[in-house]
Symmetry: none
Subunit: 183 residues, 4 copies
DNA sequence: AAATAACCGAGACGGTACGTCCCGTCTTCGC
DNA sequence: GCGAAGACGGGACGTACCGTCTCGGTTATTT
């Protein structure tokens, strides 16, 4: 509904606010003010602050049309390493981390946003990993993909331990172990 | 600082509010009103709504002194099954789920609360599981414990898939597979 | 800034509250509630409870544009009697007395309100009296006007003695005595 | 009821608070804290903040037992000048002005305090002046005393004009004019 | 080109909750 | 056993946002 120009102004405002202060203080009024847009215009296109932040995140990741780029080097271990590294890079990117945490928080109370999140981000991501595992002959690829992503996400969300490269390698190896005799 | 009587009134109020309406609408004022307590009394003992909810959850889980009861049947597979089942039961308990989601959401923006959460709940839980795995001879027990818990938590937090008993069994088996040749 | 409709609602609320209970218990929240207006709307237009009460008093006195009606019978003694009687009537009017006392109290701590009070109410009143005295040839009319008003105000503010008609006459005569040989 | 030591501590606290910040922000809690006295102790001896401030003012003026020192030079004009000058000095004394304004404000809503004020301060003051005028043969000395004091008080309370020495002299002369042919 | 509609900025508005300050009372605990 | 220290229920403060609602002043279309 919103004109493309408006959406861009709003996304820019969100990113600039996210860079300049705690993401948890971003509000509809703040976005409207920064974007030079009236609150009514925001409400016409988005149902909540969380929805705007999510939209801004999406717009940031999907410049081209092709969503999640799945690496395909031929070697499953290399691919998993790339996937893990890429995911960690995104989660800890200073320009995104705050927004991701805020959106994850809002998912807990907003079923609609949660649904959109799953369909738009989560499923493609898990699907891509499962697909890659499947091609490599790993049994129960969906479950292993969940295991693979779940541990990384858990560590990030609860800030339980830092991500160090050695752990990532071991994490990949553990995932591959589950593939049984797969090389 | 707060008297024991006050704390109990507050915890009761939180649980009754959590049972009666969406947890995301619980406020300091609402708790104060329900508990028959002044706002100042709340702020004297807790720094935020999240801190109160967390405290109420804690008080609910820790009646006796001994935290997380670690099952010890002698059989590692049985123990992991019990652990997983218990964790899922807690996460999906109608009396707790909303509170847990709200607290998890607030952790994202509240570093102090996050620290307390890790020290009080997360580490004991992961530690207990790791300890059990260690005793069974599983290598890298901390990482495997994280993997084990992470997948369950991920599925719950993002509501990606329901918990069915068959999956739980497979999940346990996958964890044991990582133990290598361990029986 | 505030719409005319809002101002009227607020003034009505103030007068109804002033009539129904002790003026010293009137609060911003009470006015907002009675007027069916949000607190923010009050703060947008007035800086304090005192400012609202003062505004309500003003709106009550200044229906037409012409402020203080100065009597002009041709006879200075009659005029002063009318002025004194009118002033006393206003000060002791049950619908106003409480508000006037409250406003006078707040003037003591609120320099801005005090300034507005002087410019809007006090100076026109004193000026009108002084002007009348001046026309009658009284020397130092400003000082005599202050004397004239000051005694009435002092008696009212400190409730030292009731206003009886005989005293008013003598008060007028004393003021005229200061005019020397003026008839 | 309060022990003398306590009263002194409280009075000192009031004066120090009055010197250090706006008198309108003085509170029971603030006095208790500064005086190193519990709130309960304050409430045992005084019914309101206003009562404490009034008491502190009184204690300040009445070191010796003899209240208002009435000058008696033999010359009524000199005496009135001294009285006016003394009154103005007191009203504008930086250590007292704020307290006096605060107390005057509280009088408007607190009948008990108002009564005490009249009996303890106002009547002795007016009486002393009236007595002096009476001795000089001035007719209606009470009314003239009120006129004399009322104008000064009015000018102070509403801050309408500064007190300059010339005005004081004229003010005294005007009061004497009312004495008719009295020398 | 003028008339007319759609849109949008600005922000007032009724509300709810925030976090703080005091009130006046009650409880605890140390000297 | 008195009194400081301060917890407590309560009420108001002044502020921040919420989501809705009018306003005018462009823009764009339609005639």
């Amino acid at each position: 509904m919103a004109r493309e120009k408006t959406r861009r102004k709003v996304h820019d405002a969100v990113l600039s606010l996210a860079a300049g202060s705690r993401v948890s203080t971003i509000t509809m009024e703040g976005i409207a003010g920064r974007a030079g847009v009236s609150k009514q215009t925001l409400y016409r296109s988005w149902s909540s602050t969380g929805a705007i932040l999510f939209d801004a995140l999406l717009a940031r990741s999907t410049d081209a049309a092709g969503r999640v780029a799945v690496p395909d080097s031929g070697d499953i271990r290399d691919d998993l390493l790339l996937l893990a590294t890429g995911m960690i890079a995104e989660l800890t990117d200073p320009a995104q981390e705050g927004l991701l945490r805020r959106v994850t928080a809002e998912l807990q109370a907003d079923e609609d946003l949660a649904l959109e999140y799953r369909e738009t981000l989560l499923e493609p991501q898990l699907g891509a990993i499962a697909h890659r595992l499947d091609r490599a002959g790993v049994p129960a690829p969906d479950d292993v993909a969940e295991l693979f992503v779940g541990a990384i996400f858990h560590r990030w969300l609860l800030r339980s331990r830092p991500f160090d490269p050695e752990w990532v390698e071991n994490h990949v190896d553990r995932a591959l172990t589950l593939a049984g005799s797969v090389s």
